[in-house]
């Protein structure tokens, strides 16, 4: 195994193609699962409305709009009003799914999310589309890699990042069924199917996708399949990594995190987000308080990302399968050194 640092130089990891998945995988844009599910739900529930900010296309709402033009509330390019209107629609007895590019929805309307939605307990479903670095080459203005930190600090708001189409479908249904504010973080970056047959998503529940006793890899969203690939790589080296999909960043499944700390004694987290304040921080808060073990938090290391596709940037910031595997060997080394 190479000893290359996890924040590898660009020339070491410039290929956008998966480095550790030689077989051809079908990659999915989870926005399609989102849009199809929204239409299914809207068929059954006449109170469901979609609200957007001139983002009909990017939110994949064309089908919804064609079917129910009057139930698609487009406020134009005005995110503060977008979220306020969503809260008002909920007050008026409707079930609004408020859809906008994640970076603008969260950054531009953060106070509306806090005050009008979460603090007011409005039954609004916020859908942050093309989250993370999905807009890759468009640059840091369009990246949403601060949203976990911002939103998980807001009380009474569920924050969910599904990993694949099936989990997206279930998360959208769960959000609709849940009475209260929800933020769904939905990428457009292609991902393979990762959740197993018969999988059941629940808000606030983490799911073990692979058993292992040497180290635990915790990821969500677009990083889950990379973590699974990392576990495969580690297995070839005789390391058994547990892999946990943690779609709900708030409320957190503390029991599953503590079980991982207790059973494996070393944790790596990986997320399409800044290392500050996101999934890794949430996990660390639990671990440090109850079961301290060596940890490594992988994410964007406190910088605005340079130009490149999301896949390129994830690789560059040490979140290729290889990079995650290297982080795992590092925490295992620290675990052994401490024992």
């Amino acid at each position: 195994m190479s000893r290359q640092p996890t924040n590898a130089a660009p020339d070491a990891t410039t290929t956008a193609a998966p480095q550790t998945a030689p077989e051809k995988r079908v990659l999915h844009d989870c926005r399609n699962a989102f849009a199809e599910t929204l239409i299914e739900l809207a068929e059954a529930d006449p109170t469901l409305v979609a609200v957007c900010n001139d983002s009909v296309g990017s939110s994949k709402l064309e089908g919804f709009q064609q079917r129910w033009p009057e139930r698609l509330v487009n406020v134009g390019i005005a995110e503060q009003n977008l979220v306020g209107v969503g809260a008002g629609l909920a007050n008026g007895g409707l079930l609004p799914f408020v859809c906008a590019a994640a970076s603008f929805l969260t950054g531009r309307a953060l106070e509306q999310i806090k005050t009008d939605v979460a603090y007011s307990d409005a039954n609004v479903k916020l859908c942050g589309i093309s989250s993370g670095m999905a807009y890759g080459e468009l640059g840091a203005t369009h990246h949403s890699i601060e949203d976990f930190a911002w939103l998980r600090a807001i009380a009474n708001l569920a924050v969910i990042a599904p990993a694949d189409p099936e989990e997206t479908r279930q998360a959208v249904r769960a959000a609709a069924a849940h009475r209260g504010p929800v933020f769904l973080r939905l990428s457009r970056m292609g991902v393979p199917d990762v959740v197993p047959e018969g999988y059941t998503f629940e808000i606030g529940r983490a799911v073990r996708l692979r058993e292992g006793s040497d180290v635990t890899l915790i990821a969500n969203g677009t990083l889950v399949h990379r973590a699974l690939d990392a576990a495969e790589l580690l297995a070839t080296e005789g390391i058994e990594a547990r892999v946990i999909n943690l779609p709900t960043v708030r409320p957190l499944d503390g029991a599953e995190i503590l079980a991982a700390a207790r059973d494996t004694g070393a944790i790596v987290t990986a997320e399409e987000h800044q290392v500050q304040g996101g999934l890794g921080s949430a996990v660390a808060e639990v671990v440090v308080s109850h079961q301290p073990v060596p940890m490594k938090i992988l994410g964007v290391p406190g910088v605005f990302a340079p130009t490149g596709s999301a896949a390129y940037l994830l690789d560059r910031f040490g979140m290729s399968a290889r990079g995650i595997a290297e982080a795992a060997t590092e925490v295992i080394r620290r675990k052994r050194a401490a024992s």
């Binding site: 409305v49 009057e70 139930r71 509330v73 406020v75 134009g76 005005a78 503060q80 009003n81 979220v83 306020g84 209107v85 969503g86 809260a87 008002g88 629609l89 909920a90 007050n91 008026g92 007895g93 409707l94 609004p96 106070e111 509306q112 005050t115 009008d116 603090y119 007011s120 307990d121 409005a122």
Partner: protein
């Protein structure tokens, strides 16, 4: 429609009582926004006792009228008005801003019946009200949405996002009442970031515009009737008011935005607000 609205004289008595209780409450709590509350007291009285179809026994009735106090810092007078209207126990007003009280310095809908949405940061009420009015339209229901903003508050850009949307959606079931008391926290609005020409701005944004004296109940109700009878677009009622109205030494004085009276000032103010038999 309120065909039998109470007389202006009757409402003036209620308004005096509310102003007096509000003054007491702020004096007892040692905090509050007296000037901002006195300027919108008559507007709140007109809404709660002559306009809004709301029921304290069923504060969440689906087809109730919605009222949003966007200038959430005037929570004190909202609480007194809600108590007067039967939504909360008047005895509870003594807990205003005390530790553990549900009567926060800015209203919390989860705690206080009759509050529709939480406000405090400015520029939040109108967008939420637009959503409410749009919901009534989508549901085919006839309830109306009323929102009260300050004037300085209109410096927040979110209002203008909402103003465009309300006109675009043709929300004639929405009325905005602007408490145009001409002062904000630190200075006159005109000296801070002037809104003039305010009426022209709303007309340009596609709203029906009507100006009224915000301390004259007949004028206020005439404005409400204008809002009710306007079709195809929302109505903006610019209510010309005085900050600190009702107490001689607080009127039009920016210092009273959130000043708490001394014992001497309190005694004088209370004497001025002593109820006149109606």
């Amino acid at each position: 429609m309120n065909s039998s609205r109470p007389s202006a004289q009757h409402l003036a008595g209620i308004a005096r009582r509310i102003r007096r209780r509000d003054l007491d409450m702020i004096y007892e709590a040692g905090a509050g926004h007296l000037g901002s509350e006195l300027s919108c007291t008559d507007l709140l009285v007109a809404l709660y006792f002559g306009e809004l179809q709301v029921d304290p026994d069923e504060p969440s009735a689906p087809t109730r009228d919605r009222f949003v106090l966007s200038k959430g810092h005037a929570a004190g007078v909202l609480y007194v008005t809600l108590a007067e209207a039967g939504f909360i126990d008047p005895a509870e007003l003594a807990t205003f801003m005390q530790p553990g009280s549900r009567l926060n310095g800015h209203p919390d809908r989860k705690l206080v019946p009759g509050v529709e949405t939480n406000t405090g940061p400015l520029g939040h009420g109108l967008p939420v009200a637009v959503g409410m009015a749009k919901a009534a339209k989508l549901r085919g229901e006839s309830w109306r949405t009323w929102v009260l903003t300050g004037d300085g508050e209109l410096q927040e850009g979110s209002n203008w996002e909402a103003a465009m949307a309300a006109a675009h959606f043709g929300l004639d079931n929405l009325a905005l009442v602007i408490d145009h008391n001409r002062f904000q926290q630190g200075a006159a609005v005109a000296d801070t970031n002037d809104l003039a020409p305010l009426a022209d701005k709303w007309r340009a944004f596609g709203w029906h515009l009507h100006e009224l004296d915000g301390h004259d109940f007949d004028a206020i109700f005439a404005g409400f009737d204008v809002a009710r009878s306007t079709r195809g677009r929302p109505t903006c009622l610019i209510a010309h008011t005085n900050k600190g109205e009702g107490i001689s030494f607080t009127r039009d004085r920016v210092a009273w935005h959130h000043r708490v009276p001394t014992a001497e000032e309190y005694a004088q103010a209370r004497a001025e607000l002593t109820e006149v038999p109606s």
